[in-house]
Amino acid sequence: MDDLADATIRPRPRHRLAFGLAVLTALAWTVGGLVAGARTSDPTLASQVLHPVAGPELIVAGALLLLVHAWVFRRQPDPGPAGGIVVVGVVCAGLAAEHLIHAADLFAVSLAALGMGLLISRPRAPTPTGVILGAAMALSPLLVGAAAGGLSAARRMDASCPTARRTVRLGAGVVLGFALVGLAGWMDGRPVWVALAIPEPLSRLGPAAVWRFGAEIADLAAPLLGLGLLGLWIGGQIKNGENVLSPESFPLDHAVRVWMIVNVLALLCFPTACAAHAIVWFAPQALLVPTGWRAVRKSLTATLPFSMKLTLAAFATLLALLTWPAIRAAGGTILVALTAS
């Protein structure tokens, strides 16, 4: 493990430049996609009928939230949440540009990502974190996994106050945030249980819907999901490394694992097979993408055997080729929407 932190395999300037360009491209893509999705928003879309609070302004707000969050948390000991939400934003941009995402889902995921970031960077203030996670859960019931992950991680965190007390405060925050958003929805004319219950008939649940859902969204999400899983794996492998990740990364790792497990259960109960839910399922993996990216970047700068260099190059090319059709389609939509008068 110490070899990873060795000075001889530090990233060279050209790798830093490539990394910076990649991040800038991702940010530009995110802004373009989300703005294009907002500008061409259609209020008659089924997604916005299901979620009356959704609208272009919410998409833009979600995008801003993602970007601000990424900026604020970029220098944390573990940049997982910051980089991860950039990845979330990239996927959201592709989906939003194609009108495949619920604005409420996007906003909810943004809140969940913010909650995870706060959970790591502000361990002494669990109540506001809980409020944010509860609000996210109220906006999209599928984000119950984020709240569960947060509670589970809070129970394990080692900070000033007792862990039981921290968990209670975080849980109270979750309930409060959930209630506030539910109340707002009720005042807006929606039944409270719309925020927490599944509005579709139970007959629509089942493996067939899950399979259709997977087939519909996989073209866009599969390669990125692969990278996310890579990040998860690497995060799990090197979480104990003193020179690679800070000890604070452990709660994030644990929270994301719990979030993923709950999401698998939630996936089986998805009421509708739609691409918007992909982002909810994808979000926890995305939070660990930067961890995987750091390891990949170090491996690229290390002295690797030819076989490993060839493998990385070949499969990076493959992933790029697989992702390209979806990028091209969404990019065309973005350009048309941004250039239209």
């Binding site: 996989a218 890579l230 690497i234 990949v296 290390a302 690797l304 055997p305 076989s307 490993m308 493998t311």
Partner: protein, 417 residues
């Protein structure tokens, strides 16, 4: 190329986990593939074979009452099922599955002779996927209970046994290899490329490279004895039934008339979707092999080099056969793809060999990238396997199945597929 784990305690659990996952995956793919093939709306070979096998079980004589242009092995293999099971096609399901599952095990043993157990297990999963997809998506026939399903076991078994025999040099194993080759030929003529590969490999190595004519003669005698035992048994039964000349005419003259009618060569990349990933691994493996070999002679003279030479000979023979076969039917590829999949392990073996040169996390990054990239590239295969199988199950009509079986029982001629 083959190496053992360094930390048995730590790796035992990992190995058991991977083994459980692989077995579950193999059973799932096999189940989906077999159910989809059984429920196929195409009603051709499996109905004819099961109908003929039922008639043989009732006392009819092959090549006299029933005309086929294949060796008798397949129908003789299916006939005993109808001695104990009712006259229908479904009793062949467990019989075929038992042979195929044993064939998967034999393939694992063959791969194990070349590679570490993790690589052999991964190649077995890929082989199961490829075999089932090729059989399921063959739109010229239904892919259920074909000769290829039963060929998998003796083919992979013969390869594994031949490698062990060549390494240890025991004469008895060459006899058993010959017996398995004889069983392959008794099932279908398309097993000929494997026989050609074994003969060419043994001759090349013993006579030309090692210049040991005595050893070559001993081994060739063992192989020929094994093949001869099976051939003599088949010929004796046919002669006792008085149909030996007719059987020989059907298996050779009549069957060869179908060759060169069209071609079985896959004309499009789309035809070999299950082989995209293994072919990619092969390409990477060849590059790594060319890059890393210290000297050509030292590399090709190693046991692994000899086995790889055999695989190349087998692949060349299979390709030649595909060119000559009468039609582009995907079920031909179910056996022809095996040398490609075995060769593709070169890539993983090279990667595994170099993993000690870098820190463990970095090696894990590389392996994770390769595994996930390969898994994503396999998605078109899964996308084809599962929906096709589900749609066939939904459209399956048992009454139509029974009628087709009854009609097949009345027929008296099967053309080669």
């Amino acid at each position: 190329m083959r190496s053992e784990p360094h930390n048995p305690v730590g790796r035992a659990w990992t190995w058991r986990l991977w083994l459980c996952l692989a077995v579950l995956g193999i059973l799932a793919v096999h189940g989906i593939g077999r159910v989809g093939a059984f429920c196929s709306p195409i009603r051709a070979d499996s109905y004819a074979y099961s109908g003929f096998a039922w008639r043989i079980a009732q006392g009819d004589v092959l090549y006299r009452d029933l005309l086929v242009d294949k060796p008798p092995g397949l129908l003789w293999l299916l006939a005993p099922v109808h001695l104990v099971a009712p006259a229908a096609r479904w009793p062949l399901i467990p019989w075929e599955s038992a042979w195929m599952l044993a064939g998967y095990w034999a393939f694992y043993r063959a791969a194990r002779a070349l590679y570490a157990r993790q690589i052999a297990l991964a190649l077995t999963v890929v082989a199961v996927l490829a075999v089932n997809v090729f059989l399921l998506t063959d739109y010229t026939t239904e892919g259920f209970s074909l000769a290829e399903s039963y060929l998998l076991l003796p083919t992979a078994g013969a390869v594994a046994l031949y490698w062990r025999a060549a390494r240890r040099g025991r004469w008895g194993r060459f006899v058993w290899t010959g017996v398995l080759l004889g069983i392959c030929l008794a099932l279908k003529q398309t097993a000929l490329p494997l026989l050609v590969a074994v003969a060419a490999h043994a001759t090349t190595w013993d006579l030309i490279v090692d210049r040991a004519p005595g050893r070559w003669a001993t081994r060739a005698a063992g192989l020929l004895l094994g093949i001869g035992i099976v051939a003599a048994a088949v010929a004796a039964v046919l002669a006792a039934q008085g149909v030996l000349p007719d059987a020989w005419h059907s298996m050779t003259t009549r069957a060869s008339g179908l060759l060169r009618r069209e071609t079985g060569w896959p004309g499009r990349w789309r035809d070999v979707v299950p082989l995209w990933v293994p072919l990619g691994w092969c390409a990477l493996g060849v590059v790594l092999w060319a890059h890393s070999r210290p000297t050509p002679r030292a590399n090709t003279h190693s046991p692994a080099g000899r086995n790889l030479t055999f695989l190349l000979l087998w692949l060349a023979a299979e390709c030649l056969m595909l060119v000559l076969l009468p039609r582009r039917s995907f079920h031909y590829y179910a056996i022809s793809c095996l040398p490609v999949i075995l060769l593709s392990g070169m890539f993983w073996a090279a990667l595994r060999r170099d993993r000690a040169a870098v820190p463990a996390p970095i090696a894990k990054v590389v392996f994770a990238t390769a595994i996930l990239g390969s898994a994503i590239a396999f998605r078109p295969v899964i996308d084809e396997l599962v929906p096709v199988s589900i749609s066939r199950v939904r459209s399956y009509d048992a009454a139509v199945d029974r009628n087709a079986f009854e009609n097949a029982k009345q027929s008296s001629d099967i053309r080669v597929k």
